[in-house]
């Protein structure tokens, strides 16, 4: 069970969180003008990084807020200094 640093509540146990996948996946501004490949990339393609991964968590059973964090997927260690609201 990971310890995850919620930027609002501080370090808390993983049981309180929901994982929300890769961070910074932006929805195309105008879907109707977006080509199939770009739309597919938005919906399905993920970096699946082996290394430092920018990801989103939601403190679902805590303050309920989403936030971003950096975690090394080869060690599961968070870069605590860099989690942001």
């Amino acid at each position: 069970m990971l310890i995850i640093n919620c930027p609002y509540c501080g370090p808390r146990p993983e049981l309180e969180f929901s994982y929300a996948g890769q961070a910074h996946v932006a929805r195309p501004a105008d879907p109707s003008a977006t080509g199939d490949d770009e739309w597919t990339a938005y919906l399905y393609l993920r970096t699946n990084t082996r290394g430092v991964h920018a990801e989103r968590w939601r403190h679902a059973r805590g303050c309920a807020r989403f936030f971003n964090a950096l975690r090394d997927t080869t060690t599961d260690r968070f870069r605590r200094d860099l989690s942001e609201r």
Partner: protein, 392 residues
């Protein structure tokens, strides 16, 4: 090797005899005995049968590293626990234990016929055959192999016991309450840190329990343990968990512990949970798990009568049991000297010679240029090279 109880010594309580049964036969031990030590004291040498060839098996160790002496312990029809190490079972009044993986009995096991088939049953033999006809693996061969495998029976009735779980948080988790673990816990607790100290044994002390003559800071080992426990017990920031095994080290310093609460009691309270799982989150984890002796490799090293030298000391000093009257000491580390001396002091070590198999092994090793030592009967019981070879 036929064990016997010494007249004094050991950490057992000789004023409190405890009766139990093994394979239906009644025995008596003392409070503080394990099933292994109590049976050994009665001269029992045969504790089990090997997995494949059903060869006879005795005690190799005195602790949790015991590979042979697996037994089934039952409190009642629903509370049968298979595959328990006899070295880890604390005896209580009325304990019922049975040997496993034998038919009709431990002494005479018809399955030992497998031993004669050993040239056929080489490792991985099942990958090389049983392929014809196509359907036969699942219908014919596999059921026979499955029935033969598995050393014990799973319980047949629903388990009526309760089990508990809890989370815990600490600054320092110390795993193992031997000399290193106790020292680490004392040092951490002195700083005001919250400390959890756990040990799989009923009694903290670890290897010191096998070293009554040892000293720490010029204090006798037993006294040092007692003082350490008093000091730790007086501090509210310390939790000492006995009979508690750390079983897994999970991400971010989460350690799983299992605490045995009632298996050592003759009459546990009805509401008492049998075990408690602890999910401990520790800022720092100290692994003070000690060392276990590696067995030496020679033909027949798995037969009853061959035991780790450290185990022989443990039986002597913790349980007041001499593991035999004629003892050959053969070890790969300096533990051999201490073991030989201790065992000798507990009653003269008879002139002991390696068995013919060991002699053959020793000759073969010498041909390869390895140093071979044997224990001698004359005190000081100091090994010296065989055949004039130099120890240098």
């Amino acid at each position: 090797m036929t064990g016997q109880r010494t007249t004094r010594g050991g950490r057992i309580d000789r004023t409190r005899p405890v009766s139990f049964t093994f394979d239906g036969r009644g025995y008596q031990g003392f409070a503080g005995d394990t099933l292994a030590s109590a049976l050994l004291a009665h001269g029992v040498r045969l504790f089990g049968r090997s997995f494949k060839y059903h060869r006879p098996r005795g005690l190799l160790a005195a602790g949790t590293e015991e590979p042979n002496a697996l037994v089934t312990v039952s409190r009642d029809a629903a509370r049968r626990t298979p595959n328990v190490q006899a070295t880890q079972v604390e005896i209580y009044e009325g304990l019922v234990a049975e040997s496993q993986n034998r038919w009709p009995g431990l002494g005479f096991d018809l399955n030992a016929v497998n031993s004669f088939l050993s040239p056929l049953l080489t490792s991985g033999f099942y990958y090389k055959t049983f392929m014809w006809p196509r359907f036969a693996w699942h219908r014919w061969y596999e059921p026979v192999i499955r029935a033969a495998a598995g050393p014990a029976h799973a319980p047949r009735l629903p388990d009526p016991d309760r089990y508990a779980q809890r989370f815990a948080h600490c600054d320092v988790l110390v795993i193992g309450a031997g000399p290193a673990g106790l020292a680490a816990a004392l040092a951490a607790a002195a700083t005001g840190a919250r400390v959890i100290l756990c040990d799989e044994q009923a009694e903290p002390g670890g290897s010191l329990l096998d070293e009554p003559a040892g000293t720490i800071n010029e204090r006798p080992a037993a006294l040092w343990i007692d003082e350490a426990l008093v000091k730790l017990g007086a501090q509210p920031n310390v939790t000492l968990l006995r009979r508690t095994t750390a079983f897994g080290y999970f991400p971010h310093n989460m350690v799983g512990l299992v605490e045995c609460l009632t298996d050592h009691l003759a009459t546990p309270a009805a509401a008492a949970p049998r075990e408690r799982i602890w999910q401990v989150r520790a800022r720092e984890v100290v692994l003070a798990t000690g060392a276990i002796e590696r067995p030496l490799v020679f033909p027949g090293n798995d037969r009853p009568g061959v035991m780790l030298a450290s185990a022989a000391r443990s039986y002597l000093h913790r349980f007041g049991v001499r593991v035999g009257s004629r003892i050959a000491v053969l070890a790969g580390c300096d533990e051999a000297y201490a073991a030989a001396l201790d065992l000798h002091e507990a009653g003269p070590v008879s002139p002991s010679w390696p068995t013919s198999a060991m002699r053959r092994w020793a000759r073969a090793r010498r041909r390869h240029g390895l140093l071979v030592c044997r224990s001698l009967n004359a005190p000081p019981c100091w090994p010296r090279p065989v055949g004039g070879e130099s120890a240098a």
